[in-house]
């Protein structure tokens, strides 16, 4: 695989391949010295046009454990602020000899535009509201390992997942819905109509605005972050009303099935969508998502840049 830009492009075979590799990387991470020489001499650049310290550190940790050289191109200190175009930026940094770019941008589609202007691999670390494929992969990995299932094309069969919150503006929701349904899960999205995407009936999901209707009935409760600036766009009346209808509070927590996993892509808005402390929940796997993130990103980097990929290693 040359690039990882979306779950659609990766396909179900690609997802299974990454999940199998991730098992191996989990084992590497358990070693006393969690480091292998797989990517020695390869340079991986984090090209973050939008701040995300957590995702960037996760990727850079993954790259270092595979012995790649890592660089960070941060927009706040770069010439992008002096009016340099997207194309000039990627062409200039590419000329230094880069094997892969890890790209985060506030606008959908930028990873596709960039891959027209560089020979390096592009790994999408989040583009606009569109895709965040490594988040989806680490979430699939987390769910199926918690369920004790081996990676396969139907390893989430029979699993019912509720995704709650601002689906309209969420790249996490878009990539997770593709990945979850590709592996056989059924998904219900829970949100007011204002936070659902247009034409949501064309999505492969059930839709409801009543969290209480589904909360006792799902295997995974996936809470999305509610951004405070949505209040300024008349998308919800106020945060209190949002919390009352869509937040996970103590009452709702008691209605969760005992084995229901609670997940969140982070960073959490405590007091908005999370009205309970995750540590008070029987099966919160939010911290597990973060640690799995490193292993899954190691798997992605290895898949894109490893020996098997002659297109890149030539």
């Amino acid at each position: 695989m040359k690039h990882l830009r979306s779950i659609d492009e990766l396909g179900v075979d690609g997802i299974v391949r990454i999940l199998n590799l991730a098992d191996h990387m989990v084992e590497v991470n358990r070693r006393p010295v969690p480091k292998v020489p797989a990517l020695v001499g390869r340079t991986v650049v984090s090209l973050f046009f939008e701040d995300s310290t957590r995702t960037r550190i996760s990727f850079e940790t993954a790259a270092k454990r595979l012995s790649a050289d890592t660089m960070t191109f941060s927009v706040s200190t770069s010439s992008v602020n002096k009016g340099e175009s997207l194309r000039d930026t990627i062409e200039t940094v590419s000329a230094m000899g880069v094997a892969a770019f890890i790209v985060r941008h506030k606008t959908s589609g930028v990873p596709w535009q960039l891959s027209d202007w560089t020979d390096a691999s592009i790994i999408n670390a989040g583009d606009g509201w569109h895709q965040h494929p490594t988040q989806a992969l680490l979430d699939c990995h987390t769910i199926r390992t918690e369920l004790g299932r081996a990676a396969s094309a139907d390893c989430l069969a029979g699993v019912r997942i509720a995704i709650v919150g601002d689906v309209r503006h969420s790249r996490v929701a878009r990539s997770n819905i593709q990945a979850f349904t590709a592996l056989g899960a059924s998904v219900v999205v829970v949100a007011p109509r204002t936070l659902l995407p247009p034409e949501v009936h064309t999505w492969p999901v059930e839709v409801t605005s009543n969290l209480d209707e589904v909360i006792g009935d799902v295997d995974v409760l996936y809470m999305l972050r509610m951004q405070r600036e949505r209040m300024n766009e008349a998308l919800v009346p106020d945060l209190g009303e949002y919390s009352n209808r869509f937040g996970l509070d103590r009452t709702r927590a008691t209605r969760l099935r005992a084995e229901c996993l609670v997940m969140h892509p982070g960073p959490m808005n405590r007091g908005v969508e999370m009205m309970v402390d995750p540590s008070d929940l029987a099966r919160s796997v939010i911290t597990r998502q973060v640690s799995n993130g490193v292993a899954v990103r190691m798997a992605v980097l290895f898949d894109v840049l490893g020996e098997a990929n002659s297109e890149v290693s030539s």
Binding site: S85, T107, G109, W112, W129, Q131
Partner: protein, 437 residues
């Protein structure tokens, strides 16, 4: 060769199709002297000698095209286009007149700017450049422009194109004030509060791509508002770049009510849909956005039944570096002048005469230049003519466009229908697909 000879052109072997002929047209040879058609002769008759002889065998001779909607970018954005380069693209596309949109810098809201644009067009000498005027000062939507003053410079079409006039009171006043001046308000219909940050059509494709959507209703609300304002004020409305099925329905109903409403559609809106954005290529970003197949069908039906009067290009050049930005930052717009005829004749399934009506005599009337463009091909008429190969196939190549910018969405597309020669004001400005200046 004397000066008189320089001003003579013969067009030989063609078949005339104009507003007075049927779709088949009639074979004739044409002799042009000093900007006017001096003789229309039966084939084989001996014409006076001419300095330039244009071969029209197996081709159609038609009145030249008139574009109601051209962005020439001068003054202010000469990195993307100039009046000269845009005029050259127009002539190659068969246009003998283009209406220059007013979103220049400074905007076309004063006689000084309007006269400058007209004069630059005259200097380029490739087609007539007809300046439009702004509806509001600086296109800012706050104060009316002195319309009667601009009329002294020949302006009859007023628009804030790029912006719709948002304030309903101001628009009501514009229609009322202009209602006895014989001028037309051309509206860019977009309620901007509904399109903030929008990149593409709001629909299932935008939903999947996670791009901010431009909903159809943002256009339709303003089409409705302006039709109803025309009904109570007696003003005259031209709807620019109609893009949705319901807009077509409303315009059809307004015409049935006898209201003075006209409309145009662009070639890109009847040939491309929102799925093009799946490539994330900003060349497909345009305002209003590419819509759905259902909208395309409605726009074609509107052209066929006369609801939509004209095909207009919304030719909107942007330099490469402006388009090579993320989709939200890249400016909207695409080239149109050099591909309009091929897309119209090749993709609409309409007979040639109906296509020519939409490209020539209908827009000439709307632009207020029907005294010199879109005229019948007859003795004594101004010689603004085009010679066409309706069946000629070619491939669009962004590297070969005459425009200063290259943002055509049709790069690599095979199309049918080509402009062979263009005669502007009696001079052969395009001969065998080559601009002569």
């Amino acid at each position: 060769m004397n000066g008189r000879d320089m001003n003579t052109v013969n067009i030989v072997g063609g078949r005339i199709v104009d507003s007075t002929t049927d779709a088949q047209g009639r074979p004739a040879d044409i002799h042009i002297v000093d900007g006017r058609i001096a003789m229309v002769a039966t084939p084989g008759a001996t014409l006076p000698a001419a300095a330039t002889v244009l071969d029209a065998s197996n081709a159609v001779v038609s009145p030249g095209f008139v574009d109601l909607h051209t962005h020439l970018r001068e003054p202010g954005r000469e990195e993307s286009e100039t009046i000269e380069t845009g005029s050259r693209a127009a002539a190659l596309g068969g246009f003998t007149a283009v209406v220059a949109m007013p979103n220049t810098d400074p905007a076309q809201d004063s006689r000084a700017v309007v006269e400058f644009v007209r004069e630059q067009g005259r200097r380029a000498g490739l087609c007539e450049v007809v300046p439009s005027g702004c509806i509001t000062v600086g296109r800012a939507g706050e104060h009316l422009v002195p319309y009667a003053e601009l009329m002294k410079s020949g302006v009859t079409l007023f628009t804030d194109d790029g912006n719709g006039v948002q304030d309903p009171l101001l628009m009501r006043r514009a229609f009322e004030y202009s209602s006895d001046l014989g001028i037309t308000m051309a509206q860019h219909c977009e309620v901007s509060r509904l399109t903030a940050g929008a990149v593409m059509h709001e629909g299932s494709c935008c939903s999947h791509l996670g791009l901010p959507g431009w909903p159809a209703i943002a256009e339709e609300l303003m089409v409705h508002r302006d039709i109803e304002l025309v009904r109570i004020t007696g003003g005259r409305l031209h709807v620019l770049h109609v893009s949705t099925a319901r807009s077509v329905d409303m315009i059809r109903a307004a015409k049935a009510d006898g209201l003075p409403v006209t409309a145009e559609v662009t070639p890109h809106h009847f040939t491309l849909d929102d799925e093009s954005l799946r490539t994330f290529d900003p060349v497909f970003k345009v305002n209003p956005p590419l819509r759905t197949m259902a909208d395309i069908d409605a726009l074609k039906a509107g052209l066929r039944d006369g609801t939509i009067d004209a095909i207009a290009t919304d030719h909107a050049p942007h330099a490469d570096h402006l388009k090579e930005q993320p989709l939200d930052a890249a400016p909207p717009g695409m080239l149109g002048l050099e591909t309009a005829f091929a897309l119209a004749v090749g993709e609409l399934g309409m007979d040639l005469r109906s296509v020519l009506a939409c490209l020539s005599w209908n827009p000439a009337r709307i632009a207020g230049i029907g005294d010199r463009h879109g005229r019948p091909v007859a003795e004594g008429e101004p010689a603004n003519l085009v010679v066409l190969d309706p069946g000629a196939a070619w491939v669009v190549d962004r590297g070969l466009v005459a425009s200063k910018s290259r943002n055509t969405p049709y790069h690599g597309r095979s199309v049918t229908g080509r402009v062979r020669h263009t005669v502007s004001n009696g001079r052969a400005v395009v001969i065998d697909q080559v601009a002569q200046r």
